[in-house]
């Protein structure tokens, strides 16, 4: 034996708060500091929830009730977790189990397979092949379990008996994602950049919008300063200031602007934009201001005297 195999698939370091996996513990700790131990108010990063709740109480005079960005049930502030330290034992086991289920120790099995395969008699092989062909044609909805000798995965596919060594892939059970998806509620989640800066204020400027408007043509010495008329409608200059998409900032803003039409339905204006449960706008009527609504009420309505 040349190499010693790993006894079982070792799970990567993972974050207890959001069930996300990391290649290495250093990254995990950075993630936890940035995601879960960061003060939502002032973005100060702490090392543990304890530190965060003390900071919250002392600096902001409020009690921290949940860990930011944590999945449900994992947002307690009572457990001190740093990297992989402090993770409750049962969760560690559960995660390990989940990990093993999602990534069964395939290589090992397949290694064993050849040996077993060779014990199949030609008859059995033929039978399996026939069954497989039937299955492929869609006649047999579910293949019956394979008889006596332990059914190697490869057999379903009528792989030539000697060596299903080639691609071990096809023999695997239906594809499963390598880790369970982090139970909803984490849209910007593990993949892809969140569409909006997840950080409060000082995050990277999320949109440099409205950046480069080219100067309106007739600035300063415009045509008619004293022209007291509504004919000086802003439309022409508005139109003329649109075309040259001068800077990148401008084009970025333009595209982001295009994403939302002027009056998005109040229900789901930007689906994955905001945080987990989707905060609700207290006032979401984009077309009319609160003052207009209020002013239309009988007690405020203006009745012209003349």
């Amino acid at each position: 034996m040349a190499k010693k195999k790993k006894k079982q698939p070792q799970s990567k370091p993972w974050c207890w708060y959001c069930e996300r996996e990391f290649d290495d513990e250093k990254v995990l700790i950075t993630h936890q500091r940035a995601k879960h131990f960061k003060c939502p108010q002032c973005n100060k990063k702490m090392n543990t929830t304890g530190g965060l709740s003390i900071h919250y109480a002392q600096v902001h005079k409020e009690t921290l009730r949940s860990v930011p960005n944590a999945i449900e049930g994992r947002d307690t502030v009572d457990i001190e977790i740093f990297g992989m330290e402090g993770v409750p034992h049962e969760d560690l086991i559960a995660h390990q189990a989940g990990y093993s289920a999602a990534n069964p120790p395939m290589p090992k099995r397949i290694r064993i397979d050849p040996g077993i395969n060779q014990e199949l008699t030609p008859e059995q092989l033929k039978e399996q092949l026939a069954r497989h062909q039937a299955y492929v044609k869609g006649q047999a909805p579910a293949p019956a379990p394979v008889p006596p000798p332990p059914a190697p995965y490869g057999a379903y596919y009528g792989a030539p008996p000697p060596m299903p060594m080639g691609p071990p892939g096809p023999g695997m059970p239906p594809y499963q994602p390598p880790y369970h998806s982090p139970m909803g509620g984490y849209p910007g989640g593990p993949m892809g950049p969140p569409p909006h800066s997840p950080y409060g204020y000082p995050g990277a400027p999320p949109m440099h919008a409205g950046g480069g408007y080219p100067p309106a043509p007739g600035l300063g010495s415009g045509p008619s300063t004293a022209a007291v008329s509504a004919t000086a409608s802003p439309t022409p200059s508005a139109a003329s200031s649109m075309p040259p998409p001068s800077t990148t900032a401008a084009s970025v803003s333009a595209s982001s602007e295009h994403a939302t039409p002027t009056l998005p339905p109040p229900s789901a204006p930007r689906p994955p934009a905001v945080t987990s449960v989707g905060p609700v706008l207290v006032y979401d009527d984009n077309a009319v201001s609160v003052e207009e609504k209020r002013a239309s009420l009988p007690q405020y309505r203006y009745i012209e005297s003349n």
Partner: protein, 332 residues
């Protein structure tokens, strides 16, 4: 621990919601416009107490008010479509302007010596008045209803419905210098110019503030940030006021909190716990030592949610130097 800030409460406040607060540029006189059709002027004493100084009426809710540059007059505009001017000396109010719809916002845009009042209304008009003649000295069509405006000579920024933003150079007051869309995706709620005069801040109903520079060369400094929201609800940013000395600014929202920010170091300088009801208007006094804020239901949850016994209060917060001074950027 969670006590409201110990701020001075203005005695004899308006009996209905407060729409705008304005401090005189020359004295600690606070002008207050209200849904109860009245405009009130309070004098703030050095000890923080207030004395009612004057009051005059519109025929409908008053939506805005603004002190003239010399502090001798207070202008106001309201749902009665009229702009009125109160002379502090004579104690008389007279109508100086007229729109075809309620006047939502107004600012003095004059060069020293020649008072000119700009008014914006829901009739989609922007009008300029010299307070002497019944007709505007200039007027121009806005693309939409005016929701907010702020001016710092020679710049006038008008925020309209449908996210239109118009920037006027007051040397050419009828043609927008720039006509653009708000970088925020939701309705514009308030506009406030930087004291440096090179840009402005916008607040939207979706708890977000955009910092915008006017000149293209500064456009890389544009950004926006979220505020006035909790895990489940997003409140509107009702008011933004810049500190006249330090160039920092306040935001106040329907969530009943106000914060002080520094846009240059992108930091929150100070946050305050909720005052229990929405903050509808804010302003700093002329030297930035007093921060006035109005508390009362802002209608953001509709008529049904209006409290049975509406409370309308004005508080004067003594702005601490360290809370409003610019800060060096934080290491991140």
């Amino acid at each position: 621990m969670n006590q409201p800030p110990k701020d001075f409460e203005v005695s004899q406040p308006p009996t209905d919601g407060i729409t705008e607060l304005s401090f005189s540029p020359v004295a600690d006189f606070l002008g207050v416009s209200s849904w109860d059709n009245q405009v009130r002027i309070y004098e703030v004493q050095p000890d923080g107490s207030t004395v009612g100084k004057a009051m005059y009426a519109h025929e409908a809710p008053v939506l805005c008010c603004a002190w003239s540059k010399d502090g001798s007059k207070l202008a106001s505009g309201g749902a009665d479509k009229a702009a009125r001017l109160y002379d502090l000396q004579s104690g008389q109010a007279q109508q100086i302007g007229q729109h075809d719809g309620p006047i939502r916002s107004m600012r003095w845009v004059d060069t020293p010596g020649q008072p000119i009042l700009a008014t914006g209304g829901w009739d989609k008009m922007l009008k300029y008045w010299d307070c002497r003649q019944p007709n505007p000295i200039a007027s121009t069509q806005l693309p939409e209803r005016c929701y907010a405006m702020d001016a710092l000579y020679p710049m006038l920024v008008v925020g309209c419905a449908d996210r239109h933003i118009l920037i006027y150079n007051l040397n050419n007051p009828t043609t927008p210098f720039k006509s653009t869309q708000s970088p925020l995706k939701w309705q514009t709620r308030c506009v406030s110019c930087f004291p440096a005069g090179n840009g402005f801040a916008l607040g939207s109903i979706e708890g977000r503030v955009a910092i915008q520079y006017v000149e293209e060369k500064d456009a890389s400094g544009n950004f926006s940030f979220k505020c006035h929201r909790d895990s489940s609800q997003v409140y509107s940013v009702n008011a933004i006021s810049f500190h006249p000395v330090h160039g920092t600014f306040s935001t106040a929202g329907s969530d009943g909190t106000f914060n002080f920010w520094d846009k240059d170091s992108k930091q929150r300088l100070k946050m305050f716990p909720t005052v229990g009801a929405p903050i509808t208007a804010t302003t700093f006094n002329r030297n930035g030592t007093i921060f006035a804020y109005a508390v009362g239901y802002d209608w953001s949850k509709g008529h049904q949610s209006a409290p049975a016994t509406p409370k309308n209060q004005i508080f004067l917060h003594a702005a601490k130097e360290e809370d409003v001074k610019q800060r060096a950027p934080k290491k991140r």
